[in-house]
Symmetry: D2
Amino acid sequence: MTSGKGKIINDPVYGFIRFPEKELLQIINHPLFQRLRNIKQMGLAQLVYPGAVHTRFHHSLGACHLMGKALDELSAKGVTITKEESLAARIAILLHDVGHAPYSHALENTLIEGISHENISRLIMHQLNSEFCGMLDMAIEIFNNTYHKQFLHKLVSSQLDVDRMDYLNRDSFYTGVSEGVIGYDRILQMLSIHDGELAVEEKGVHSVEKFIIARRLMYWQVYLHKTVLSAEILLINILRRARELAVDGADLFTTPSLHYFLYQQHTAKDMKSNSDMLSHYCNLDDNDIMTSIKVWQKYPDQILATLCKMLTERKLYKVILSSQSLDNEYNLKAEQIKKTHNVNNADLQYFLSTGVTSNDTYNINDDRIQIAMKNGTLLDISEIDNPIISQALAMPIHKNYICYAQPLI
Amino acid sequence: MTSGKGKIINDPVYGFIRFPEKELLQIINHPLFQRLRNIKQMGLAQLVYPGAVHTRFHHSLGACHLMGKALDELSAKGVTITKEESLAARIAILLHDVGHAPYSHALENTLIEGISHENISRLIMHQLNSEFCGMLDMAIEIFNNTYHKQFLHKLVSSQLDVDRMDYLNRDSFYTGVSEGVIGYDRILQMLSIHDGELAVEEKGVHSVEKFIIARRLMYWQVYLHKTVLSAEILLINILRRARELAVDGADLFTTPSLHYFLYQQHTAKDMKSNSDMLSHYCNLDDNDIMTSIKVWQKYPDQILATLCKMLTERKLYKVILSSQSLDNEYNLKAEQIKKTHNVNNADLQYFLSTGVTSNDTYNINDDRIQIAMKNGTLLDISEIDNPIISQALAMPIHKNYICYAQPLI
Amino acid sequence: MTSGKGKIINDPVYGFIRFPEKELLQIINHPLFQRLRNIKQMGLAQLVYPGAVHTRFHHSLGACHLMGKALDELSAKGVTITKEESLAARIAILLHDVGHAPYSHALENTLIEGISHENISRLIMHQLNSEFCGMLDMAIEIFNNTYHKQFLHKLVSSQLDVDRMDYLNRDSFYTGVSEGVIGYDRILQMLSIHDGELAVEEKGVHSVEKFIIARRLMYWQVYLHKTVLSAEILLINILRRARELAVDGADLFTTPSLHYFLYQQHTAKDMKSNSDMLSHYCNLDDNDIMTSIKVWQKYPDQILATLCKMLTERKLYKVILSSQSLDNEYNLKAEQIKKTHNVNNADLQYFLSTGVTSNDTYNINDDRIQIAMKNGTLLDISEIDNPIISQALAMPIHKNYICYAQPLI
Amino acid sequence: MTSGKGKIINDPVYGFIRFPEKELLQIINHPLFQRLRNIKQMGLAQLVYPGAVHTRFHHSLGACHLMGKALDELSAKGVTITKEESLAARIAILLHDVGHAPYSHALENTLIEGISHENISRLIMHQLNSEFCGMLDMAIEIFNNTYHKQFLHKLVSSQLDVDRMDYLNRDSFYTGVSEGVIGYDRILQMLSIHDGELAVEEKGVHSVEKFIIARRLMYWQVYLHKTVLSAEILLINILRRARELAVDGADLFTTPSLHYFLYQQHTAKDMKSNSDMLSHYCNLDDNDIMTSIKVWQKYPDQILATLCKMLTERKLYKVILSSQSLDNEYNLKAEQIKKTHNVNNADLQYFLSTGVTSNDTYNINDDRIQIAMKNGTLLDISEIDNPIISQALAMPIHKNYICYAQPLI
């Protein structure tokens, strides 16, 4: 809907959200941004939470909306933020995920190894910047944290950025997991700047506590959900097998851009110099992956066909999670599966995987969440007298897992 | 999540919903049902409402949940409903949309002409029934309205069925258009059976009024939204052009199942006898269409390439809607477009379309919504003393439209 | 919560709402405004909807918040609104209900006959204005519609004012009647000024339609709900009986300010000159009424005691509603009740009442809702080609009722 | 609304809730239960959260609804619960708060010292039981934990009872404090019985964690909010002063039942034998207190008048909270206030109070929340490997406070 100034979009999470400047609309309408419509924010989590089919496009719009609210709040408190800075910060967050591959976790571990979606977002921002004649100069500085008002970067990327606020909110909305709902509006209203640093006012500390805990719960209940983990490992194994066959000269159905990555080996650092590679990368979305996997179900290689059938029909691996070692279980399952699935040692990996999954709720080595105490000092949230945060949340939790295929009937 | 009996799914619209019987789970887990995960409920409406990416899979689960609630309600009022009937009615609604093609409106007007998704749902139900050894016998009777308790069919398909209740609710939830929210729980609680007929108790009449009006508003604001209409016509034109080229022998990238329908002419009635055709049909989903269109952007035929680029980059047709004739506007635009797009009369159709769109809020010729009056009589809702429904809603509204491509820069 | 500038209040309906100017806070903190905390917005409706205990205090804050949003929207569209005007309009709406009596419908029909709460709001605004040295000058002009920018008055009081928007929203929120939920944010975003007149843009017409229908449904389902009607008539009868006894010299327990109105006859026009009367009026709230009625349950007069017991214990009148004449039913009941309740003709009125209740959804004789058509003209909403509004809603609906006490056990 | 079987009530928190049995309706309709309509659930918290005016009546209905859902869930898992037990458990929870005084915290510390509302609920249940000829026998056993299925008592009263679930949900709904929202439906679905003990299934542990943390946050943000604390202490001081004056023979305006407690000294243990005392107690509600305080604003005693004005006009004490000693601040303020308020040492207490407030989020000495581990064992939630609960929440937090009146202008 276009009304008065700019564009208004109906967002079930926040109600109407508005994009007033033509610069924002130019970016939103650009094909490189529209592509995010075809990349699901939560990848395969929809196999567990059928509502979770929202896209990175929608998340990026939402994060941009929250950035606007955060800046309005800070301005209302007397922080100087120019119109240019406000626009630049919103452009930076709008594009923070533009470099994501489809099912990025899986692709970054197989076909496009070593690639960082943040770096590609940066490359794309530079490309847009030359297309738009320098319009993104300041946005890029903010994104790279070279702009002198560092709090703008902190809002784009830190342990309390608008990216996390939007995705926690949006993911809990679309999954229906109420545990992830955060009081984002209260946190936004508690933001302030002290000596140039982004901080949360002391009386907002319970909201930050809630935010950290909501994130923790979303990790265990959603992002690291057994079945989601299982589906992601299955996808990794499918892509590995397909690559293996491709390297051996097999003639697999693929889309042109997936063909480019499946049949040729590319390294992360090529991306910068190889414009073809970036262009193919930006042409990939969820559809390429899922269409190919659907066709591969009938490919003669039994391993590839079986894995693709498992994903398409949602007959996923079973998962065991534990804080203890799972070596015994692994060995036991290995013997079984070699028989039931009739595979040799080399191919066992496709039916039995093991590894570690972890949840760092709050990383004390990372940018810290600062609390502006009433007495005027700034404290890291982990330093304040708060037993939940100080004692408990700081510790990452690791769990071992094994995933194994069940006998097919 | 599996707990106690059956499976529990987290639905953001209703909270936790439960599928207790193993028969329901067998159907939900079947590949023919899992396929619905890849068919968006609202097709291209996500180009206007970015949140509206929910699937027919999710809608079917939701409608099944509402069916359970409706039957519980009727049972609590003393209506005899056996366990078998309850299961059969839920199976019937679970599968009511299983025969949908991706972007069904567009496909049914181009590649797969004359096909009715209801008939295909029926074919698939028969196929599942033989696979599950007669488990769906009663469900099929209910679906076909040959079961003696006709109110069960009415709950599956009528002007006040759980299908509509779920999609109005769900579509308004995911679009964020609050106008479509209905008091579905109140309607469910007002259901009753009088002389074997499904009716709404008189005191529920305002809720039905609200339901009819919500539907009307959703039509104008969402389903028949100009931009959604524009995108659908664009998709139809893309598929028409692709078929035209295919018939001429062009070598278009497609997935195997889309190839089947693009390169061969099939009629609706072949489906019953041709198991290959059904199997290819059931292999199609949104991914096939969108992947192909993305690739076709680079196809040498300028018309196909242009149309595909317009859809992918969301540079849609402009639309004029009017209750008056638009013949003059059409002729004017025709002359312009032949010049700006350099097309001849035969190809003009790809850049300029015209037609009629309409909204029948309540069709008095269709199954009627019955109101059980306090005095014991049953009245059609249009007969009761209600000025909104009786005078206004019964009339369908037709609007003429023209859609035209803008000059490409 | 006080943060940065002004005060932030947590409103379950809108989330955090902010009152930035100290002038607003001075008014909110004034005892004459704080008094509204003790006057329920929906009076006796909580006897049907137990959640509906929200206050006029809360409604006034909410309406003030919506006024701020409406003015921001208009400003964003280029309408000139000065800071003073913005503050004045918010003061005007904040105080629009400040002259309400507790259970105003009942009191205005008994103890304080002929009084208009709007006039008393005006008196109180003048009193505050002299206390605050002219701070309310412009707010009073807007309230009185003597300010030259008439659209500001329209936002305070018209058929599409922020008063109605807040109460429909809030009342449906607290009753749980989802039928009353309106898309207030969409209406606000569709507001515009044409030739100095407040209008809704043409594309907002469905939202206005929804607003009018929501209001209609709230009338039938909530405001004119049989049981609410019954309770209000019972309260009127209690106050009438108490006054009758007081005039006869009975010694009834009352609070001092209720005593003033119960034992002395005052006319509406005295209020202006009699500062004692205004001061007692402003001292009355729901507590005075309910406390007294609770004590009167034990008063020796059997009629008063019975009626008070009926209200306190929620043994309300039975109600018959009909669009036909109820004269026969009335006569029948009259004979019965004279026996069962052992009352004479004079006292029959306390156990049997009759009258007419009506619902004017949209009054074409009143200020009209203007629609700004795309072709530049302004139309009254009832003139546009909209069958629901033009044919149906404009007609008021009258229903006859009788209320009668049931035999007490 | 009465429909089919029983009564349906519209609850904004849960949607429609149903009370099917006539026994429940008899209790709900009883004056002793209807009285709860006039006792706010959150007392004076509405001075901070204007939406928080919901009543103990509404909370009791909601808790009863949750009990029904919990029992349905357990039944669906195969736990034997007879119809009689189901009804009795719902009666027990419906009446668990029936013995509450208005502003019970304040009254129990002043006029009606030493009284436990739980004991009075018990007395009232006995009275209803004789009125209803033994209908409450089993409900009383469950309430008293003498019924052999102890899990029923646990659902009424323990650290994870439906009382807490409802009040956390309801209080966060009506305050608008989203931090208190809990996933009550998920907790209910995770309930199970192991060896006769109520437990939560292991996979529900994150929901319990969320529940405990939500409670903790509600304590700090709402229940122990500085301003709420301040208002409660003010109310205590008002009642103390009024009692002091009453004992001295002052003639204070009061309602008859408040008079009974203000002018006579009663001890908790009298209640059992003195039916007059119980009857007066059950006649008190919020209206008695607030009406009297409003009138006392004009009482000649300056201390009483000032305190009452402070409450009515919301000019509350200022509060300092600290985990350190506040003795110095106290002494300082004492000197100031004796001057500014012109009071002697004896009356200083009315303008300056000090004390300790505390928050026991989870009391390890109390009934424990049991977790049913997948390996079949039962563990106290504090024993499981969960850093948040085990290390942090178990410790109560104490804070010292001082409250002091500000100079009146």
